[in-house]
């Protein structure tokens, strides 16, 4: 599902440089819309929660209070409490850090590997291209999440392995996109013009090809963070990421599953934050993309 979204995202990002920009509808690029402002504010909230969670939620995310178990959302407990009386709001805020780190690190791993493989395929001649492509096709044959499960099966569950697993399973998509972008940039007329000017190959690569290939990818990376968070949460939900008492959104979602009929808030609020974070990252990514095109 997410591969398609990423493809579409890049299609538009790269379209920005090839199509005629003056034909684009002139949307005010400088003034952010309402959704963008809300996303930016929520993003700020997330960053603060990740860096200094105690500022927003002074309580202990692991502190139990059996008497207050299963309290619905109220003034005392904004998001309610779980089966041991732990405050859900505190846990959600304290869980932001690990969720964000998982998202960012996983995306970095995926992008890094993708750049490596994609650049190799795009630049190092036909044999390498063929080999890398067949390898990618094999990886594509597995659904991304299955690939991650396979990796966890080998290296055991845990936050670190889940992060690496998500990173690995997103890499083939990035590699494919980078290769395509590289090939289209490489055969573009301005690269040829640089050859005519007598620029050596490596300087053309550094000065013209790589910047034009990678700039749209920064946007793609922002979009990827949201996706990676969802995936990591999915793994935690399956019990393959963060372990239950730890305040991780996916794990909390999983813990609430048992009480979903009596205590909806236990799964609702972690789930809401997963969705909002993904939406927020995607919105910010898209708005950066639009701004870059107009620049």
């Amino acid at each position: 599902m997410s591969d398609i979204e990423i493809q579409a995202g890049l299609g538009r990002a790269s379209g920005g440089q090839s199509s005629h920009p003056e034909q684009r509808p002139q949307r005010a690029a400088g003034r952010p819309g309402v959704v963008e402002i809300i996303s930016a504010l929520f993003g700020l909230f997330l960053v603060v929660s990740a860096l200094v969670p105690t500022l927003l939620a002074p309580g202990d995310p692991l502190g139990i209070d059996p008497l207050a178990a299963f309290t619905p959302p109220s003034a005392g407990h904004w998001f309610g409490t779980d089966e041991s009386g732990r405050d859900i709001y505190t846990r959600v805020v304290h869980g932001t850090g690990s969720s964000l780190v998982i998202g960012i690190v996983a995306t970095a791993i995926g992008l890094g590997l993708g750049i490596l493989l994609g650049t190799a395929a795009g630049m190092l001649g036909r044999v390498v291209d063929f080999t890398v492509n067949r390898f990618l096709e094999v990886l594509f044959a597995f659904p991304g999440l299955l690939l991650a499960l396979l990796f966890i099966l080998i290296y055991g569950p845990g936050v670190a392995t889940a992060t690496v697993a998500v990173g690995l399973s997103t890499a083939p998509g990035y590699a494919r996109i980078i290769r395509g972008q590289l090939i289209s940039v490489r055969s573009s007329s301005f690269v040829e013009a640089a050859t005519v000017q007598g620029l050596p190959r490596w300087r053309i690569l550094v000065r013209h090809i790589l910047p034009n290939t990678l700039a749209p990818l920064l946007v793609l990376g922002t979009l990827g963070i949201g996706q990676a968070i969802v995936w990591a949460s999915a793994l935690s939900y399956l019990g393959l990421g963060a372990a239950p008492p730890a305040p991780e959104w996916g794990a909390m979602l999983s813990a609430g599953r048992t009480y979903i009929t009596s205590a909806w808030w236990m799964s609702f609020f972690p789930g809401l934050f997963i969705v909002l974070t993904a939406v927020c990252a995607t919105t910010i990514g898209r708005s950066i993309e639009r701004r870059m095109r107009h620049a």
Binding site: H20, F190, A193, V196, N212
Partner: protein
């Protein structure tokens, strides 16, 4: 008798309140049945918007005001979309420029043409097929029975345009609007399509022809309306307007057409840059002078083939030999697919020949490694058709010129600081007639002519002695084209440049070249001094090409 089309004070604009910042203003004209009115003008003059308003297709966020717009006597002003849909195809047909994108690539052309019959008539499927076959036959696409199953990708450019015309005339609408119907076509095909339109006109349909090409217009239009900045500035019978233009802008447009203008005649009205006065420069040297001029680029028996997707080989360039002398222009002319661009790429050593060799200044060029070529790269510059695509989209004009100057083959002799580089950049811009203010802008924000000037400035950065120009003016309006051609001409004289000038446009080639080589199917079929080839073409293909060039009616009539 009522006119097929009557337009009174048409005003069209986009966005804003109606009446504000119109792009078409107070345009009025009439077209009678069996008459062709041509609306000419440069890009942005409002001619296409005018045409589209006549079909109710002015576009999103547009507003249309007029005292009257009526087709065959019925007012179509302010019709709702549903009413327009009933009229389009039946009362008024549209022929667009690019048949490749105007026809659905996934549907057979028989169905495309039959669409309007299906929507507007009660004909049975068999009758529809019969009518489609008749239509195909009438637009000069014989063997219709097999054609109707073909898709647009299987047809040539001319055949596609014919199919598109067939679909426009399917219901025999009294009014046809043709928006640049021949612009994307080769000159011989263009002549055939114009003949077809003239035939349709003779049958009694009224035609509104939109074109930027005055010569095309002169072939079939009875009357001409010249548009500029949204207004009709001049209108009248075709011969009168073309031979005795009243408005200065019409005169400038006519003067800019290079067809039949001798070499070294200035085309643009304003001098491009202040270089040596033209009168002191001797006229084009005669052929006999060439042996004394040194050869700067020599191509001998070049051959290059490509593999087609189906595995067969396409020979793009076959046994091509030519010599380019110092300070001369060799024109390479041919239709699309004749191998012109491959020849240019071979000359630039961007492509390696399968056989044969290119040498520059007597030194091996195509036969050596890129590393060995780099030393000489600076002496060979290139100018492209799509100037915008040849610039790194991230860079400003200043960056582009600085990079070109700093390139290994670049022109900076001393390794000065950045201040020195900007001085040289400004000088380059000055040479091509651009203010140094554009340094900080991006090519995207410049006009087509300005972009091409920046492209020329970049090519000049390395102080080249040879310029390979691949269709450098094909994307430009005729007056802008004239300025760029004049600029190239002046630079050539000032810097003793040798030009390999590639174009599909015989008018441009005839004006620019000292010698000309005619290409067809990868081979040079005829070569010689331009005046000789144009006056007395030997090869039948050259004769055919020259006959097809749209010309103005001769004044001495």
């Amino acid at each position: 008798m009522t006119a097929a089309l009557e337009v009174k004070n048409l005003t069209v604009g986009f966005g804003g309140r109606p009446g504000q910042d119109p792009v078409v203003q107070d345009v009025s004209f009439e077209v009678a049945a069996g008459e062709c009115l041509a609306i000419v003008g440069e890009s942005g003059s409002g001619k296409s918007v005018t045409a589209r308003s006549l079909l109710g297709l002015a576009g999103a966020h547009s507003w249309v005001q007029a005292d009257a717009v009526s087709i065959t006597g019925q007012s179509v002003l302010g019709l709702p979309e549903s009413a327009w849909r009933r009229r389009r195809g039946r009362d008024v047909g549209l022929i667009l420029q690019d048949a490749l994108v105007s026809l659905d690539p996934l549907r057979p052309i028989g169905r495309e043409i039959g669409d309007s019959l299906r929507l507007h008539t009660k004909l049975s499927a068999a009758d529809r097929t019969r009518r489609v076959l008749e239509l195909l036959d009438s637009v000069g696409l014989p063997d219709g029975a097999s054609r109707i199953r073909q898709r647009s990708g299987q047809l040539s450019g001319g055949q596609r345009q014919r199919a598109l015309i067939a679909s426009a005339i399917a219901l025999d609408p009294p009014l046809l609007i043709a928006d640049e119907p021949t612009t994307a076509l080769d000159v011989t095909v263009q002549a055939q399509v114009l003949e077809l339109l003239a035939e349709i006109k003779r049958r009694g349909n009224a035609i509104v022809l939109i074109s930027h090409d005055l010569a095309v217009v002169s072939r079939i239009a009875d009357r001409v309306a010249v548009m500029s900045a949204g207004r009709i500035i001049e209108t009248g019978p075709t011969a009168e307007v073309l031979q005795n233009p009243q408005h200065p802008l019409t005169r400038a447009m006519l003067a800019a057409v290079p067809v039949d203008k001798p070499r070294r005649t200035q085309l643009s009205a304003v001098p491009v840059a202040t270089i040596a006065p033209r009168s002191t420069v001797p006229d084009g040297l005669s052929v006999d002078d060439y042996p004394v001029r040194p050869v700067v680029l020599e191509a001998s028996e070049l051959r290059r083939s490509f593999r087609r997707p189906d595995g067969s080989r396409l020979v793009a360039v076959d046994d091509v030999s030519f010599r380019l002398h110092r300070a001369e222009t060799l024109g390479l002319v041919g239709e699309s697919g004749s191998g012109k661009t491959t020849t240019a790429r071979l000359a630039l050593a961007l492509e390696t020949p399968d056989a044969g060799e290119v040498r520059i200044f007597g030194e091996p060029w195509s036969a050596v490694q890129e590393k060995a070529r780099r030393r000489l790269r600076g002496s060979v510059g290139a100018i492209y058709q799509d100037a915008l695509g040849s610039f790194d989209p991230r860079l400003t004009v200043g960056d582009i010129l600085r990079h070109a100057l700093r390139a290994p083959a670049g022109g900076t002799t001393e390794r000065g600081g950045s201040g020195h580089l900007s001085t040289e950049s400004s000088q380059l811009l000055d040479q091509v007639g651009l203010p140094s203010g554009v340094l900080s802008r991006r090519p995207v924000d410049l006009s087509g002519g300005q972009r091409q000037r920046v492209g020329i400035a970049r090519a000049l950065a390395s102080r080249p002695r040879i310029l390979i120009c691949d269709e450098p003016v094909s994307a430009l309006d005729v007056t802008v084209q004239a300025q760029v051609l004049d600029l190239l001409d002046e630079l050539q004289q000032e810097l003793s440049l040798s030009l390999l000038f590639i174009s599909h446009d015989l008018g441009v080639i005839g004006h620019m070249s000292d010698r000309v080589a005619v290409m067809k199917d990868g081979r040079i079929v005829e070569t010689g001094a331009t005046a000789d080839v144009f006056a007395d073409p030997r090869h039948p293909y050259t004769q055919q090409l020259l006959e097809a060039v749209p010309r103005f009616p001769q004044r001495s009539r």
